[in-house]
Symmetry: C2
Subunit: 436 residues, 2 copies
């Protein structure tokens, strides 16, 4: 018997129960923070020597020099060449689809633009790629080759000339799919280091590891803390929390499909969250039966059970409209609109990392190969942040070229405001450009 809670929005205690389900604390452990600060300072000071020492200590990987920890392009290619045909084909296909989507994204929102105003003044923005970025790829259990594609390809499409990957290889165990993904995605350099020491090496640079301008990619609590610490020195992407799926169902999708979609989030780890929102009590009961029937056969059933019991919920709503409102309050990372009229509900959905429309769009298709990025804002941060994209590997510079005529129009406005703020040099710089 699975102890998966059902909530009803019509119940008096719904608000309290709902808050309990959503509660997740991103508070960082003070002991971790202190340890990370020490590691960062040490790598900043001692460079390669410190990185080597921590790699020996934390990953059980001894090396005489950092050069020994660099993966050559040949080694990456060999990993790809050694894959079974089905895997190398799937990897190449996925990479190709992800690349095509991100090329569209660049075209839609990543190109320079400018115009002239009525005084002949040029205004615009120049969009340029970052010079060098670092991609953190977790090792061990959570070593996902798909994440290599999802981080490296947008950087490559943005035009970043140098993409540096770091991936810990505890006791030297390399994941061939991860190495092959790095080859397919066009990673330029790769080092088998991880943890806060790898983040420090990328942020400050060492004799061997080049300093990057931005670090992206998920990691454990040490990596997250290190990224937050070096933010400002370099750019970072978001700090990832546990993964979540919200399925908004109107009862028209086969219940087994929805059950498996809820599993596919729950199998990540025990803190992952799977929630179903549905106005149809009978359908919720069918999904529950599917869950109970399918669960025993899942290889990762223990993780799935712990996740569903600890953080999952089936929520019976008064209507689909109400379900959409609740979805907006949650601002989920993954949002499946499992409905035969998904475009009726999509306009009501304001906050989500990715929206999967219709019964055929399982989250897993999006996770691997539909094209959009699978690095998405978690823990409600979709209220204010976006999927990883080409835009994360570009930056903008404003362009302004004031014509002589424009300077006569703008000068008096600027000077008036500058005097109002007590900034006389600003005012005079504008006045110097006026015709006497």
């Amino acid at each position: 018997m699975l102890n998966l809670r059902t909530l009803r929005t019509a119940d008096a205690d719904f608000e309290a129960e709902f808050k309990r389900v959503l509660h997740w604390s991103a508070e960082t452990d003070a002991a971790i923070e202190t340890r990370v600060a020490e590691i960062l300072a040490d790598v900043r000071q001692r460079g390669d020597a410190a990185v080597l020492a921590y790699t020996a200590r934390f990953d059980g990987l001894q090396a005489g020099s950092m050069a020994e920890l660099e993966l050559t392009r040949e080694e990456l290619k060999a990993a790809f060449d050694g894959l079974p045909e089905a895997q190398s084909h799937a990897l190449t296909q996925a990479a190709e689809r992800v690349r095509r989507y991100h090329e569209r994204q660049k075209k839609a929102c990543g190109e320079s633009w400018s115009y002239h105003d009525e005084d002949g003044t040029l205004l615009g923005q120049k969009v340029t790629p970052l010079d060098r970025v670092g991609i953190y790829v977790p090792g061990g259990k959570a070593a996902y080759p798909s994440s290599v594609l999802m981080n490296a390809i947008p950087a490559q499409v943005a035009g970043v000339p140098e993409i540096v990957m770091v991936v810990p290889t505890p006791r030297g165990e390399k994941n061939p799919l991860v190495l092959a993904a790095a080859y397919v995605a066009g990673v330029h350099r790769a080092f088998t280091v991880g943890g806060a020491q790898a983040v420090a090496a990328l942020a400050y640079g060492t004799a061997t590891v080049p300093r990057v301008d931005k670090i992206t990619g998920p990691g454990n609590a040490y990596v997250a803390s290190a990224k937050k610490h070096v933010f400002g020195q370099v750019g970072i992407d978001m700090i990832a929390g546990p993964s979540e799926i919200l399925v908004l169902a109107d009862g028209t999708t086969p219940p087994d499909w929805v059950a498996m979609d809820l599993f596919s989030q729950a199998e990540h780890d025990e803190l992952a969250q799977s929630i179903l929102l549905c106005p149809d009590a009978d359908y919720i009961a069918q999904v529950r039966s599917s869950i109970e029937r399918l669960l025993p056969d899942m290889p990762r059933r223990d993780v799935i059970r712990a996740s569903l019991e600890g953080r999952g919920a089936l929520i019976h709503t008064r209507s689909m409209d109400e379900a959409c409102e609740i979805s907006n309050r949650i601002a989920p990372e993954h949002l499946e609109v499992s409905s035969n009229e998904p475009h009726r509900w999509e306009p009501l959905l304001r906050h989500a990392g990715a929206i999967f429309l219709g019964a055929f769009t399982s989250e897993s298709l999006g996770d691997y190969c539909a094209g959009p990025n699978h690095v998405l804002p978690t823990s409600g941060t979709a209220r204010f942040s976006s999927p990883l994209g080409v835009y994360d590997f570009q930056k903008r510079s404003s362009l302004i070229e004031v014509s002589e005529a424009g300077a006569q129009v703008l000068g008096p406005i600027a000077a008036t405001l500058a005097y109002g703020e007590g900034l006389q040099a600003h005012a005079q710089a504008a006045e110097f450009r006026l015709k006497r």
Copy 2:
């Protein structure tokens, strides 16, 4: 006699001198961090009562309730109506130009997009405004009405339904230009609170101050530390360092103009940085004479002198090309290309917050009214970040609608990769969508 250093790139000690000039530590004070953490926790716990207590203590402003600290729309309008005609005109004109530019920006890079692939699968991104944002406006000496426009207008153009401004008013002294700017920029609610307590109120919400999704705007060390602390809970913009200008000159602009442009950065504060890069030693000497002649008449000459002597530099380069390279290493906040052929050099400039092209484009015109935003990345962060813009008040959600035909193509790819990662539920969710 002004003790403003000259560097020559041809000199043997150039690299060392150059590093010394650029050195600026963003390290935060541990005592401030601790104090800020306490204030944040207290406001989170006690809400309005804590905000009132800190406002009384730090700003010398007593109030019986938070409602007393809210500025009404009528009060903002009255401030605008009470301005001298020249000021209200300048404010309105500046706002109008800033709005027009940001509307172009939204059109260029802030609209939803989608397409269908060859299998009929819909892919795209939906762009939506944030629900509610908070704008921090410094009080006292550095109360800049132009910053109100530059923060609020992009949010308004993005379509944010609720813009909440906080501005400390030490001892209750209100700056009428700041209030008027809030009126012109369309701020929805405004509170006369500041410091870490204001950031906390916006991030967590209190009975009176609504919780926002993102906080933007500059502030002192307490505000910067508070913003960094609440990052994740809410979005934040960049953490601002001292303001900087870099002038790249080929010797064709009147030297007085360049001198005044250097002053206009130096007058902000003693840590502000003004640097001239030029391949023409005679011209550098002319600019130095202009500086010495013009400085005594500047009302803020003491601040300008301290800034120029402490952090300024005139750098004699071998060529304009070399000047461009050095500019890229600095990645300045403001970059003036003071040349009669600015478009020759612009393509070589990869990193800068804003690029001002040609002799007529003084930075001050851009600061107030050319149109582009004056909130720009400082301290070299233009290597990876961008001017504040409409995009900071929007977020993106990926859209995916896989057709039945698409699911047949994508399913096997996703399943192969998912099995490779040991995620069987992901694989089966894809396989369930395959025709049997």
